[in-house]
Chain length 209, copies 3
């Protein structure tokens, strides 16, 4: 495993999602091993779904022990410093957003590497970014993140993925593309929450008499 920017982003995303999982599990008062399990599942969930869908098995985390050690260390740090992450909901949101941004882009990249159609690569990226958080929320009995209207989760993924595909098409330097697009997803979601930007819904005008 050489340490290209792709790998660094992958590690960063894994660590960020592990922290978000650990925070969520501590908040649910799970015990020590419960915290590790939720951290683990959150961190590897998106990549595992991606690998299974494209047929890359055994899945990535099984072929490389780096992931399991990284997640263990990060989870221990999250437990130790839990009182410093005190605005827990804000910390959770921040790490979830970093994970989302980074994993969306690595997912799109892997789709393109596997010669999938660009629009399908964007869908794959969105699933890779979102799935870990969705599992975490289902297991921790929270409303799944994809639901929370104020957070334009999906929109941020799609915009970031689209810019990635366009920049990739223009042969722009790969590392620049990674940084610009990951940051696009992260900043879009942070701004949307800060300024309460939402998209319209389409609730049918009820005629239930």
């Amino acid at each position: 495993m050489e340490f290209s920017l792709f790998n660094i982003l992958d590690i960063l995303g894994t660590a960020a999602f592990a922290i978000s999982g650990a925070l969520s599990a501590m908040n649910r008062r799970l015990d020590l091993f419960g915290i590790f399990i939720i951290a683990f599942v959150t961190a590897i969930g998106g990549g595992t779904l991606r690998d299974v869908l494209i047929g890359n098995t055994p899945v990535t985390w099984m072929e490389n022990t780096l992931y399991i050690y990284l997640i263990s260390v990060v989870t221990m740090l999250a437990i130790l410093f839990r009182n410093y992450l005190n605005h827990l909901k804000k910390s959770l949101f921040l790490f979830d957003t970093i994970g989302l941004g980074v994993f969306t882009i690595t997912g799109v990249e892997i789709g393109i590497r596997n010669e999938l159609d660009p629009i399908i690569s964007i869908a794959l990226g969105g699933m890779t970014g979102a799935f870990g958080g969705v599992i975490r929320d289902i297991l921790c009995n929270e409303i799944p993140v994809i639901f929370r209207k104020e957070e334009i989760y999906a929109t941020a993924c799609l915009v970031g993925g689209l810019i990635f595909v366009i920049m990739h098409d223009q042969d722009i330097n790969t590392d620049v593309t990674y940084l610009v697009t990951s940051l696009t997803v992260i900043i879009l979601r942070l701004l949307a929450v800060k300024y309460h930007i939402t998209l319209p819904d389409f609730y049918p005008e009820k005629e239930q008499k």
Copy 2:
């Protein structure tokens, strides 16, 4: 992709589940991209599970952009005409039932094509038919469809699958088999709901003193 009856049923099931997902998401007041995502996941969920279980990867919707475009167009139509689908629960139920019937049968067929045992092909068909709706309901926080006692969901799948296997065994014309068995699943479920036909449950006689 030639347009055999198999493919037409596959497209019809995809469209029907996309509409059911879009209706469910609008009902939950998800935003524009949220609606697309639920429509997408509902429409491709069953086929994705089927492909992953038999090892047909990358999964079907990744190899053929038809699905993603079809789902997008159908979802846009569902949004535009949402006020005409006004008895939303009834519309949702109808499209869910069409998707169930069609996908159950294509699932059984693919099991047989892959030389799986007939009884295992029926199980695969049932999963293919039911899984999209189960994901939709879990993500939209509804009681999963498999649960709702009044709808004999599973029974309809199993009966349709069984008839398919028997007709296939008798070398009856494939297109006739598709039509008869899909319609069997659909009509069974519609009739069961209309006439409140249910199977017995087996709740233990409580002796909790």
Copy 3:
């Protein structure tokens, strides 16, 4: 399929999880086919996840009709004798624990057979043991088993898996290893519940003013 101790444990785990699924479904008042489906999904869930993650497709239960017949027979027995399993929650807990213990160990074994790293094989074993029960609980709307603090579910898996890896490393007789480690998981969980042994949680000291 020769009948080694490995296969006998696999059959025992499948039957135990099928019973736990059937009990859970009867308790939820699902109809006849609903009961079969939950029994089936609970019994094959863990092994299916394991097979999909390592790329062993079509998954095991599709290649061998033994599973589907075994589950059907066991489920019918569970329905017939439902009134004798009258302390339903206790019966459910017991069968769930047997399934957990057995499947954790067969999962670790299959990881090692596939030349995965020992620590990753333990993670695979834990997932194989826990996943069936998690699906059962999500579909039956129960709090997922992994959650219930009093049961040290995850801890039992990890301890059993660790002992397996150590014994395997010491070239101890395989059958002895299977028995010792399966029983370790089962007994640990039973004792923990009986004597209310729990691990600490790490709920952050709230400073929310």
